[in-house]
Symmetry: C2
Subunit: 326 residues, 2 copies
């Protein structure tokens, strides 16, 4: 490892905000340095409690994440927040009030907020999110909160690969019940009825509890159903307690190891998928993709043969243009 | 091309339902035969009008898609329906009534319904959806309706790559406005306020119209806002008319070609991503992924170095185990 890389890594271990920001930018833009850095950060990662918070747009995820972060901060923990939700105020869907409110957190030295709203043209949101978790974890964040919209497959995948998944629901949303039917909601370890001061909160709680009672989990965990009012902070302490309860439960479980193994496998495969793709696009001759696009548009060639040719070209162009491989 | 492949392709061109079903299964499971078949189908594809219908769970997408399909059927067109929405009754989130209702369509010889609710363990939902469009298009479907949940990035991508994108909203859903703010809704060419017999439909229409008036589109199209009651079929004829209006508009536009080029580029890149990944997983020695998962779990090795090694192994293991490359 070069001296400057070593220095950079050490600044991150010390929690230096500018070094962290630079690291995330390097990873997001696919710089080779970002990859080298991640290798040196990885051994110091693995101790953060990664909390996935998911739910429909408008369920109040950002507000709850903010309050939960504040709760952990009050107990002296360092907190990272990653928003991978295009509707989150953290990540660009903000109205001014949200932004101002958030600044209380972002200027607090013990909280690091990063949005991942936009994917680059090469995609890879899930693998980029994992990389950012590694950076924040190595930087000493004991808790990393990931906020995602809970409907798309990408977003569900990201939430599922947290240590614990919290699903936010709001009273009176028929669509949530429909989502439930589809099994999307089975991913969660904790269910939170947010905006619980609205009519229908008790009924929503009963419905969720009833549905959860239909199926026993393999690991023996009985998912908890909680009520919160994120805007006032009501119920946030109980949510933190429930999160800690799940953590303690997980540590005693052999099945916990199995979940971690499945998560690790999914991560490796996602990283493989993204690395192959970035390397291949980097190795293809300039203008080749555009030329092939014209061929397919004109129906001169079929896309399947064109892609086979690109894969062959990549495998023959050994060691050239690969970003991840130094 | 082998004789049997030629026969298979010809049966698809003739609209044979069993041949179509077999083709889709072959493509979904990543069989080499599926890929060879797609190459011979591609030249006969490209004439279907591909309509993406997206919106939140519970917005009534499946019902509207069913009614719209019926409307096109009445005019003698052949229709394909692809549901890539985990909450859709087409694709598994069904209650019994929905299933029975759907059967009216599925036993009609001129309609082909296929769900893509589950991704295989190797992923690739977007590229698989594209492949199914190619099959249905080559099989003579003049209209292909794709139903997706409109929140996740994957799903939005799929909808965006249709010839026309319809976004369904329902009155009184605050979350839709939030989605609007985030720019997710900018993708649509037509906006439909469904369940327009509910209170607030006029207000929703006004809000959407007001937001749309804030930005002019590069192609000069002024997105239309329509109201429907999908359960009764109200407004479905107007929706079909609007879809045809957009189609005629598009044919006159130079910018239309630019959109097709961008879509074609995105498709090629997605196909490249998926093919590389499937080939690499197929080429890696058995048990290698599991062994590396254990290394990373135990923090013996970092995932970044492990993946670089896998990429190198793939590039050296030339021609072995690749599924897409014959």
């Amino acid at each position: 490892m070069s001296d400057s890389l070593q220095t950079w890594a050490e600044r991150i271990f010390a929690g230096d905000r500018r070094a962290i920001a630079r690291a995330i930018s390097a990873v997001e833009s696919g710089e080779a340095a970002g990859n080298s850095l991640l290798k040196s950060l990885f051994p110091k990662s693995g101790s953060a409690y990664v909390i996935g918070v998911t739910g429909s747009p408008g369920a109040g995820k950002s507000t709850l994440v903010e309050k939960l972060a504040g709760e952990y901060r009050r107990r002296g923990l360092r907190v990272g927040i990653i928003a991978v939700d295009p509707t989150s105020p953290f990540s660009g869907g903000a109205i001014l009030g949200d932004r101002i409110r958030m600044q209380a957190l972002s200027t607090d030295g013990g909280t690091y907020i990063r949005s991942m709203a936009t994917r680059g043209h090469l995609g890879g949101l899930a693998s980029a999110t994992h990389d950012v978790v590694t950076i924040l974890d190595a930087a000493g964040c004991q808790v990393v909160l990931i906020e995602t919209v809970g409907v798309g497959q990408d977003e569900v995948d990201i939430a599922r690969h947290a240590d614990v998944t919290v699903l936010l629901l709001v009273p009176g949303m028929g669509d949530d019940v429909q989502t439930f039917k589809a099994g999307v909601m089975e991913i969660a370890d904790l269910y939170v009825i947010n905006k619980a001061d609205r009519p229908g909160a008790d009924r929503a709680e009963q419905e969720v509890t009833a549905m959860l009672s239909l199926a026993a989990r393999r690991d023996g965990w009985q998912p908890l159903v909680l009520k919160t009012v994120a805007t006032t902070g009501e119920g946030v302490v109980s949510l933190r307690d429930a999160l800690e309860q799940f953590r303690v439960f997980g540590e005693q479980q052999a099945l916990r190891r199995e979940r971690q193994r499945a998560q690790c496998r999914a991560w490796l495969l996602e990283l493989l998928r993204q690395t192959l793709f970035e390397n291949a696009v980097g190795a293809l001759p300039g203008g080749m993709i555009e030329a092939r696009v014209e061929d397919v548009l004109a129906h001169r060639r079929d896309p399947y043969s064109v892609v086979e040719e690109m894969v062959e070209d990549f495998r023959q162009a050994r060691g050239k243009g690969s970003k991840r491989t130094p």
